[in-house]
Amino acid sequence: MSGERPRLAVHKLASCDGCQVAILNLEQRLLELADRFEVAFFLEATSRAQSGPYDVALVEGSVTTPSDLERIHRIREQSRTLVTIGACATSGGIQALRNQAEVESWKQQIYPHPEWIEVLATSTPVSDHVHVDAQIEGCPVNAEQVLRVLTRALLGARSDLPGASVCLECKRRGNVCVVVARGLPCLGPVTRGGCGALCPSLGRDCYACFGPSEDPNVDSLARHLRAAGLSARDVARRLRGVAGWRPELREAALRLERGDG
């Protein structure tokens, strides 16, 4: 990153484009970002598609096809710093629900020509395949966190996003706890903060779209939710959400499904 502006790329694998839209939602600040970085590749926003190397690559989406598996290796080779953005890229996304299903049988049920469907059996996070320098959680990401990580990259500093739970953000906002006061099955206690406790602030239960917090005690929360009246199956289903393929969440879900949770 010498005298010239550092080169930024935004890539997409299997996803809804929502994290890219969250970046476009920066509006005026997006234009400022385009002054600080040379936007070398961002297919959704520009026709100017330049090849690498890139100083910073943001990657949205999970790895679900043989061609995307190849592509993520090429992206890694061309990128000095690779940052995954959003639940698909960091956790495998909601589409990772297929990982414990028989994708072959789904193909048989849905497609007249299942032999034409070229997909991997699993939807996996980018970090399962290549080294990732920083992860930005969320479904979608909080664009403020993206700006923070990019600003620090400009300064040559590492990402410093917090890993504490949504509960901390609820306390800061002065929310009444929806678990304690209303008995809602809120996953906030085991979910990474960063959204600003959006769901509890609307009086509803968090569904863990920012993935697990640091050192979450998922089994303890599961016991609490079961004591509040949810079945083991219901608690497991809740854990298997948009970030449900993360080991902390899926292993707790598996224990509940097996009956030893």
Partner: protein
């Protein structure tokens, strides 16, 4: 010797999701044309089976980062009809406000980021900002207002979290809506000025014979409910979707497309809505539409950008009319109990009709789910449009021909991520990825 040419767009830029175009021309004739989708399928209909009905509004939002509200609205409509839930009038009005927010956000994203660079011969909106900062600022400020509506009712613009079966998790206060109204009132003039700027740009003309399909409602511009109607006399309730539409295989490729039974390709989206519902436009939107009368004399996909601009004005007026009559509802959501049944939802996503059929089991869990997004419906129409455009493109340089094809595809504002949970990625015998739909 017959002249052979190929036009290849390996990665479509400025569209939502990943697609490509392959064309082979022989002696001025289109020998082969494929709009390919290499967006990976995500199997939504399959993995949502067994989820709780209450989870559906949150989960279907993940199909599309640009139009999550459309998926939420079609899902709650289907579920509420299935459950026999009556939504109270103020909640229904708030949902129109919410949908208006998404139309504003999505239409402006398309107009300034995706479409405008084509008319100016530039690569992106960042370049436009250097040349026409006032217009880009105007578009971004309008778009921010759409997002503000989404934040008010859903806490965030992408994958908003406010919607539930029966209503919302929380209803806004009268004061919050009044503040929003204060911000929206000057926006109508800004939207009119932006539309005028677009009207001054060299937007191409491609009038053609098209059957247009959209919702129609007796009392209002269609958004959250209505009958499915067309410019050639179709008129059915959403539950009769399968009687009117079919998915069929095209002989020249492995692609399946959604077509009108016995009639073929059709177009959904802002142009279809506008031309089928002009009588329900607000006075300001009506005036804007009249001002562009010659662009709407015959259906022209290239005029879709103007339809979007008019719908931005319409959405601002819709939002203001909700705000002015708002009284907080007695409860933000109507109660319901899980049960088995079948429900249908049809609402107008920014890109057009979004149909959903939901079947639940006795526990209230999702047993079957079918989703037909707008881009899947426009698929056949886009290919027809390109076939019509290509012979004339033979006279042009390859670069210019490619640019025209890409711009024509963008007129439909295709949302490939949306389409792909449903469109099937297939590989034909030569190993090229092709597109088909379920």
């Amino acid at each position: 010797m017959v002249e052979r040419r190929r036009i290849e767009v390996r990665a479509l830029a400025r569209v939502e999701g990943h697609g490509a175009l392959h064309v082979a021309l022989e002696g001025g004739r289109v020998a082969e044309l494929r709009l390919e989708i290499f967006e990976p399928p995500r199997f939504f209909e399959a993995f949502l089976r067994g989820r709780a009905a209450a989870e559906l509004p949150d989960l279907v939002a993940r199909i599309c980062g640009i139009c999550p509200v459309a998926y939420q609205m079609s899902a709650v409509q289907a579920l509420e009809s299935l459950l026999g839930v009556e939504v109270e009038p103020q909640v229904r009005a708030l949902r129109r406000l919410y949908y208006a927010g998404e139309w504003i956000e999505s239409h402006l994203l398309h107009m300034i980021f995706l479409a405008a660079p084509d008319y100016l011969g530039l690569d992106d909106a960042m370049e436009i900002a250097r040349r026409e900062p006032r217009q880009v600022e105007r578009a971004l400020a309008l778009r921010a207002l759409g997002n503000r509506i989404l934040v008010l009712l859903g806490a965030r613009p992408v994958n908003p979290v406010g919607v539930r079966i029966g209503g919302f998790h929380q209803a806004p206060s009268r004061t919050e809506l009044e503040d929003l109204g204060d911000a929206l009132r000057p926006a109508r003039g800004e939207a009119e000025a932006l539309l005028q700027w677009f009207a001054s740009l060299p937007v191409p003309r491609r009038p053609q014979e098209i059957e247009l399909v959209a919702l129609h409602h007796p009392d209002e511009y269609p958004m959250s409910e209505g009958r499915i109607v067309s410019t050639r006399g179709l008129s059915v309730e959403p539950d009769a979707f399968d009687e009117a539409f079919e998915e069929s295989q095209v002989p020249h490729s492995t692609a399946l497309h959604c077509r009108l039974r016995e009639r073929g390709a059709y177009q959904v989206g802002p142009l279809a809505r506008l031309l089928l519902n002009r009588d329900h436009l607000s006075p300001a939107a009506r005036a804007a539409c009249d001002g562009l009368r010659d662009r709407f004399a015959q259906p022209d996909p290239a005029a879709s950008v103007f339809a979007r601009g008019i719908e931005v004005i319409q959405a601002i007026d819709e939002a203001l009319s909700v705000i002015e009559r708002y009284e907080p509802p007695a409860a933000p959501a109507a109660p319901w109990t899980p049960r088995a049944g079948v429900g249908y939802g049809a609402t107008e996503a920014p890109r057009g009709l979004l149909y959903m059929r939901v079947e639940t089991d006795p526990a209230g869990d999702i047993a079957q789910l079918r989703i037909v997004p707008p881009t899947a419906q426009n698929q056949a129409r886009i290919e027809d449009d390109l076939r019509g455009l290509l012979p004339a493109a033979l006279a042009l340089s390859e670069e210019e021909a490619r640019r025209r094809c890409e711009a024509a595809i963008r007129d439909y504002d295709p949302c490939i991520s949306c389409a792909t949970h449903f469109l099937r990625l297939v590989v034909d015998r030569r190993g090229d990825p092709c597109l088909a739909s379920s």
